[in-house]
């Protein structure tokens, strides 16, 4: 790893729901090109942290910087434009659209033809649409979904829906890709494939990945660094080896799983 730049800086971020502090004074620094895991028991606040990073919720306190720019309080689409894209724990595809269209929507913000151009079918429209289609197919190929590009997204089997969500997020061309339990519901073989795919994506696209996962095999196998969240607080961070042996982490998980 060469000299790196700070891509994501989470500075004392909190989020309160009613009386519940779902995320509490979280600090997190992620360098350009890292592949980082975020783990923790159910209800620890992992998804909430993602929601804060992507603008779905506004932080109750603290600051978030992406590439040095403050993104706290921006709308989700503005944060996506600044280079963070995500997937969802409970899949949120555009169910009645085709597989291809799902990916094209993510490429929308890179489109240069205006509504006016499209209404009057000026040359820019055809050029822009063709380019989008081409790009979208490229992304589908990576995920082995190009054969199904004209299928309605909601008709795909579960594992493919998960892959499509990642493809879609990637099509937004993010610097930071956030994956919320990408392996959930996948069988062991699919999980291994996914693991390799995630690593490959990072290297191929030179992006940074932060992923939430319950599958320890996947997390330990693929992540270079791991943060552990419990009751909204970061209780440990470090290499997989350090995390595996950290007494706080063991306690958090033992206290949780009976």
């Amino acid at each position: 790893m060469a000299a790196q730049q700070l891509l994501l800086n989470v500075d004392n971020v909190s989020r309160v729901f009613g009386g519940l502090k779902a995320v509490s004074d979280v600090n997190m620094q992620i360098q350009d090109g890292e592949l980082v895991g975020l783990i923790g028991p159910n209800g620890a606040g992992k998804t909430t942290l993602f929601n804060l990073l992507t603008g779905v919720y506004e932080p109750s306190g603290g600051k978030i910087h992406l590439s040095g720019e403050s993104v706290g309080g921006l709308r989700p689409y503005q944060i996506t434009k600044r280079g963070a894209a995500r997937t969802f724990q409970n899949i949120r595809l555009f169910g009645d659209m085709t597989v291809l269209e799902n990916v094209m929507v993510a490429y929308h913000m890179h489109a240069r033809h205006s509504l006016f151009t499209s209404i009057f079918r000026l040359p820019g429209h055809f050029k822009g649409e063709a380019e989008m289609r081409e790009k979208a197919v490229e992304f589908l190929k990576i995920f082995n979904l190009d054969g199904k590009k004209d299928e309605i997204a909601k008709n795909l089997p579960y594992g493919e829906q998960r892959r499509l969500e990642i493809a879609r997020a990637l099509a937004a061309r993010p610097k930071l890709l956030l994956l919320d339990e990408p392996a959930a519901g996948m069988n062991p073989q699919e999980t291994v494939d996914l693991m390799n795919l995630i690593r490959w994506i990072r290297d191929e696209f030179k992006i940074t990945i932060l992923l939430i996962e319950h599958d320890m095999g996947l997390v330990m196998g693929v992540c270079e660094r791991i943060y552990v969240l419990d009751h909204g607080q970061i209780i440990a961070s470090g290499t997989p080896e350090e995390i595996r042996t950290n007494p706080h982490v063991i306690e958090a998980y033992l206290g949780q799983e009976v």
């Binding site: 998804t47 929601n51 779905v56 919720y57 969802f88």
Partner: protein, 293 residues
């Protein structure tokens, strides 16, 4: 000035309590199956007509009210059974259109059977004016409207909070699936909700017709919409909210009219609706809940 204000309050509360009675039906039905029952205003109209025929046949106010409530309760249950139940789980917009269809149907059956003209409502309550103090007066019809509203509200509170059916209603509106798993008969509970809501609308129809002594098949549209505004104002799905919403709306309307803007009266109702939707969409008494991501 003080007397003037008190007088307007009295007038506003009388009409407002009618809105409240109708709003209760909207709110209970919405609370339980998330349907804006656009036909509810027409159930109110049917109630007024039942009252009209009962009064013509020589029944007094009490029996006219009881009869109207009974007929409307049955009508409400029938509407739910025939039109809405087959669509349980269908898209919201589809059920909404069905409700609009039922509304059209009731109105036009009314026109077909009874003619489009308004009919004078027989005087079953002798209208006497009582002076409270100074120039402030209240008439017997207003007293009756208030009394009917108060009695029905008390009864409703009792039913909802003290009876088994009421508990079932609250359970179903909180979480239909969980209620079903707990062994509550969801279909019966929904029917019961329609019955109660429609009976209240029927009662409102009769007192409305006594107050503005006339009935016609389209009379339910505007009060229906107003009551709906009242329900939203109070926080749709919340019973006390419907009462407060109705009263507030009645008072504001009376205020706007008495300030010389009677043509804008309906506009005021909708302006309130929009303001509340924009600034506190959950209504005065609603809790804010966000979709979890």
């Amino acid at each position: 000035m003080f007397e003037y204000i008190v007088q307007q309050l009295i007038n506003g509360i009388s009409i407002g309590s009618i809105y409240a009675l109708i709003a209760l039906g909207y709110t209970m039905v919405y609370g339980i199956i998330k349907l804006i029952n656009f036909a509810h205003g027409d159930v109110f109209m049917v109630g007024a007509f039942v009252g009209y025929f009962a009064a013509k046949a020589g029944l007094g106010l009490f029996w006219s009210l009881i009869l109207a409530m009974a007929v409307c309760a049955i009508l409400g249950v029938l509407i739910e059974r025939l039109a809405y139940r087959p669509l349980r789980g269908a898209a919201r917009i589809v059920i909404l259109i069905t409700a609009i269809g039922v509304s059209f149907l009731l109105e036009n059956l009314g026109i077909y059977a009874l003619g489009p003209q308004a009919k004078g409502f027989p005087e079953i309550v002798t209208k006497t004016q009582y002076t409270l103090f100074g120039d402030v007066t209240i008439n017997s019809v207003q007293i009756i409207v208030l009394a009917v509203t108060v009695i029905l509200m008390v009864l409703l509170q009792y039913v909802v909070h003290k009876t088994k059916m009421g508990k079932a209603m609250r359970a179903v509106s909180y979480d239909m699936e969980a209620a079903r798993l707990m062994g509550i008969n969801v279909d019966t509970t929904i029917s019961f909700t329609f019955a109660i809501g429609s009976a209240l609308a029927g009662a409102a129809g009769v007192v409305f017709a006594v107050m503005y002594p006339s009935v016609d098949p389209l009379m339910g549209i505007i009060p229906g919409l107003k009551a709906f505004v009242a329900a939203v104002l109070g926080g749709i799905g919340i019973i006390p909210g419907a009462l407060v919403g109705g009263l507030v709306l009645g008072i504001v309307e009376t205020g706007v009219s008495s300030a010389g803007f009677s043509l804008w009266r309906d506009g005021a109702a909708f302006a309130i609706l929009i303001l509340i939707l924009i600034f506190k969409p959950s209504g005065l008494f609603g809790k804010n809940v966000r979709e979890k991501v």
